[in-house]
């Protein structure tokens, strides 16, 4: 059986949407397989929440189609779609207690009392809130409310669950706890989850695949390690994890390929095509030393240093480069180096990523 025909399979084809003259989604294509955890990652205004609302049925796309389990969803209102959503703010029904909040979706379906009680119990166990069944919504903390909101969506046992930045309103500590919980609940339910966030750390920690959004388009769609190690665009490199994106010229030569950064030649992968390029360096793949220049290193002086607990963050200024270079160096002997010191910033050729740059 074709995977997108399975209960949790999703096929999005050529979806466009605009608010007035402003295009918000521009030709989104996306296939999601049953049981997958896919994150829509991007800054605010990139269209990720709009796509989620299109899938939920709150917005009709101006073009394109959404199919869930092989069924066309155009003109199907939200209450008839086989998806459920967890909203950004924990929006519990203020006039109902926790049990009745979770039971809501079952009651409107006409589920029997006994089955409702059983399912509500199951859902509250799943989010570890069984003892709160009789509490009023207003007696819960933000994190507890969001757990109840999750249970309220899960109780309908949707094959596709949509989560719209469900943790963004919570404190960092609660957020980290909830990440662990979300991974567990996803494993236990086995449903397809589409998760919207602007937090790259959350995306890397949770997802099977990440769709990096840029101004209404999917910039890159890959698993977290590929996105991090092999970003397809400077944008993806900059949005997922930290990156130094440095303009350079790749030149073929007798000794293999080199990239010219300002006036310095550095060695790069010999397979690289010559021409203008972006050299992408992760801050943590850089080392800083006071030795001789190496085949891939730049001479720079330290402008700032900050202690991060496990590492030092350096800001370095290299001759001829407009931007500062960011480097993360593990705490150890010799660190921190003094501000103003002249150093060699070097890296392993394998850890450098070269992407073509338009003239």
């Amino acid at each position: 059986m074709n995977d997108d025909l399975k209960p949790g399979g999703l096929r999005i084809q050529g979806v466009n949407h605009s608010f007035g003259p402003q295009p918000v989604l521009r030709g989104i294509d996306l296939d999601v397989s049953d049981g997958e955890f896919v994150t829509f990652l991007g800054p605010s205004g990139c269209g990720k929440t709009t796509l989620l609302r299109v899938i939920a049925g709150f917005l009709e796309p101006t073009a394109g189609s959404v199919q869930i389990a092989g069924r066309e969803m155009t003109n199907v209102p939200p209450h008839r779609r086989p998806v459920n959503m967890v909203f950004q703010r924990p929006t519990l029904f203020p006039h109902l207690n926790v049990h009745d909040n979770v039971a809501f979706g079952l009651r409107v379906d006409g589920t029997g009392r006994l089955e409702i009680d059983e399912l509500v119990g199951w859902a509250l166990d799943l989010v570890r809130m069984p003892e709160y069944e009789q509490r009023r919504a207003s007696e819960l903390s933000g994190g507890q409310m969001q757990r109840v909101a999750l249970a309220r969506a899960l109780v309908k046992r949707p094959r596709v669950l949509l989560l719209d930045e469900p943790l963004s309103a919570l404190d960092l500590k609660i957020r980290l706890e909830m990440e662990v919980e979300l991974r567990r609940v996803h494993r236990e339910t086995g449903a397809t989850w589409l998760y919207v966030t602007h937090d790259q750390r959350e995306a890397l920690a949770l997802s099977d695949r990440i769709a990096v959004f840029d101004r209404g388009r999917i910039d890159q769609l890959d698993d977290p390690t590929t996105i991090y190690r092999r970003p397809a665009t400077p944008y993806a490199a900059g949005f997922v994890g930290n990156a130094n994106v440095i303009p350079c010229e790749v030149e073929g030569g007798a000794r293999g390929c080199t990239a010219r950064i300002a006036d310095v030649q550095v060695a790069v992968d010999p397979e690289t095509a010559p021409g203008p390029a972006w050299l992408i360096l992760r801050p943590e793949s850089l080392t800083i030393g006071t030795g001789e220049p190496a085949s891939s290193s730049l001479t720079a002086s330290i402008r700032d240093v900050a202690y991060r607990g496990t590492a030092f963050s350096y800001l370095l200024e290299a001759a001829g480069l407009e931007q500062m270079i960011k480097a993360e160096v593990a705490d150890g002997p010799g660190h921190p180096l003094e501000i103003g010191a002249s150093v060699q910033v070097s890296w392993n050729e394998d850890s450098a990523i070269l992407l073509p740059r338009e003239g």
Binding site: R89, T91, K156
Partner: protein
Amino acid sequence: MGDLIRRRGLASGVVVGATLLFLFVPLAVVVLFSFHSSGGLTFPFEGFSVRWYEEVFADETFSEALVNSLLLGLITSAVTVIAGTAAAYGVARSDSRIRGGLRLLFLAPVLLPGLLIGAALLTFFARFQFDRSLLTVLIGHVVFAFPFVFLLVQTALERLDLTIEDVARDLGAGPWMVFKRVTLPQIAPVLAGAAALAFMLSFDEFLITFFVIGNEQTLPVYIFGRLGRTVDPGINVASTLLLAGTALVWVVAAVATLRAARNDRAADRMEVEV
């Protein structure tokens, strides 16, 4: 400095006291003389008796007027709450361009003097040979009370968090179910308050009623008519009963409003804790 505040406190105390005095002393006097043992309406007060209550209740015209007023109040309340809620829901949830215009139109009768509404309705009924009766009074009361109910309900609806309705739709509730299970319960206290207000507005409405009433009587019309015939504590009895009815409903409305305010605070807390 402290002296000034104390003096200011004293001054405002005097103003508040005087205001309350002028508001409530006449009412107290009316109630007091409804229990007068003699027929006089001026001091000295000669003694307590319920003879005027007996007299008034023995008057069939009065009983009819009282029943009419109660019925009119209840029906006006029911009609305006249903129509007002429907209109307010339509306006609050519409994204049409005529939304603002509709809102003004629904509220307009508030700005019209009762005299004008009464005269206009009278002309209208006469023009279409619509006999004056309690039905025409009911129409008048609905026209009069509708905008108040509309305003209350519309304000309550605008305050609701629309995301909650999205949540309900997402959980499988169709439009009617969303209204019944999510919107309605949240505005229920306001509806109770609006119903009480509509009842009160109708129960002691005189001006419009006087224009469009036929041979029947309502309580205010009865009191007015009786004033023209005799001056005795019977008037005070009828007025006291009118006052008691209004005050009772006012208490109901106040309780309902307090409950609504408490719900709002709970909802606000939810916002803050996020």
